[in-house]
Amino acid sequence: MAVLSLDRLSKRFGARLAVDAVSFEVQERQVFGLLGPNGSGKSTILRLVTGYLYPSAGTARVAGIDVVRSARAARERIGYVPEDSPLYGHMRVVEYLSFMGRLRGITGSALDRAIDAAVERLALGSVRRTIIERLSRGYRQRVSLAQAVLHRPELLVLDEPSNGLDPRQIIELRGLLRHLAQDCAVLVTSHILAEIERTADQVAILLDGRLLTVEPIAHETVAAPAPSPLEALFLELTRAKAMQ
């Protein structure tokens, strides 16, 4: 069964049809990319899938559960990182993860284990007790991802996760996405073609709210592809700064 299935999903804002009868499916352990220019409806689709917006027509199902009719059950199966990774900046990393875990109904020793696992997966050990607003953009993105995988979701929804990251952080994020996709399906948006091409197994291209095509992308390995020569040079030259 598909982890996510959209059936003629539509969203209208007043007179403007932001998403026009979009249908596609995302399978288990698949990285599914949504590509399109700004305003093509990518973020709106993610907001409809996560329940932040309600559809004007059509359905979205996560693991067979309607995201509107059984919102709570569907949301328990979704991890979401909105665009620009909003966080509570005054909290410490572990405090924030604990808060988000409790909101998702994880308590006691299960919560401690979930936080430890997320911190390890996202390599957040060194900043565990740091106040979030003091973290770099890359670490904040990791904290956002950590809260999204805390409850081991079946579907991870990421809206423009590479926005504002420097080249090193983008390369690291690429590896992280492939790593996270070993446990769940990932639905990710970007307007950067190269990023989607390097991380996604399948890509949907949108224009003006309409789905133009869904195409598979072949990868030689399940891991993230090796950096390009320019990326390798950049990583080498900036390693000292990154180690600080």
């Binding site: 919102a71 709570r72 909003p86 808060f99 409790r102 909101l103 109904g105």
Partner: protein, 238 residues
């Protein structure tokens, strides 16, 4: 053992209370409230030599009108502006859970603020023989007024992403609801009675002087429930 929904609301209340008390706003609001009410208490005690808190209740009500918008303004507006509202609304919570948590957190600040004035009642008890009826009813009226203001303030905060706009609109609406009886007196019947029925001052006055009517309790309860309902609707409209 608490149900998951109760536990989630408790988590959210804890976070909201910590957020309010980690910002200087709550401390500034409480300090201003206590200093001004302390000044009024001292003056009324020394000048009027009356063992009563009636002046305190009326002045505290005006202070609540001025200060509650500072507590409620950021509750939804700031979450919407920073994008964290998306995290809350996509978590396995209902809108009513989020609204209830914000309401309870604001009430914690409000109760902390008003409870500090209990020291004036203690002073009256120590050095005089106050009539406790108006004191009990006055505090009940003050808390109900505060809860009604919080509910309206949350509703306005849920409608905007700008906390200054939320504060200014709340302040304006509170001011109108407080003094609407002045306008009512200029109108013919039955409009006068209709507007008087909306006046916060008209419904608080009986509490402050020791008379409790079910109609006044019903008014405040209605405003609280209507405010919270409209806040939920504002969040659900997406």
């Amino acid at each position: 053992m608490a149900s998951p929904a109760v536990s989630q609301v408790a988590t959210l209340v804890g976070k909201e209370v910590r957020t309010l008390f980690t910002s200087p706003i709550a401390y500034a609001v409480i300090a201003v409230f206590v200093v001004l009410s302390g000044y009024t208490f001292t003056v009324s005690l020394i000048v009027a030599k009356q063992a009563t808190l009636v002046h305190i209740f009326f002045q505290s009500a005006v202070q609540l009108i001025l200060l509650v918008p500072l507590i409620t303004m950021r509750q939804f507006a700031e979450e919407r502006r920073s994008g964290t509202l998306q995290l809350l609304l996509t978590a396995p919570l209902r809108e009513i859970d989020i609204v209830a948590a914000k309401f309870i957190a604001c009430m914690v600040v409000l109760l902390a603020m008003t409870s500090l004035t209990l020291v004036y009642a203690a002073v009256l008890a120590a050095y005089g023989d106050p009539d406790w009826g108006p004191i009990y009813s006055g505090y009940l009226g003050l808390v109900m007024l505060g809860a009604a203001l919080v509910a309206i303030g949350l509703m306005i905060s849920a409608l905007t992403a700008n906390q200054i706009v939320a504060a200014v609109v709340s302040l304006g609406l509170f001011g109108i609801l407080w003094s609407i009886d002045t306008l009512a007196s200029l109108l013919p019947q039955p409009f006068e009675n209709w507007l008087l029925g909306l006046s916060l001052l008209a419904h608080l006055t009986p509490f402050a002087v020791g008379a409790m009517y079910l109609s006044d309790v019903g008014f405040f309860v209605t405003v609280i429930l209507l405010g919270l309902f409209l806040t939920v609707r504002a969040l659900a409209r997406r």
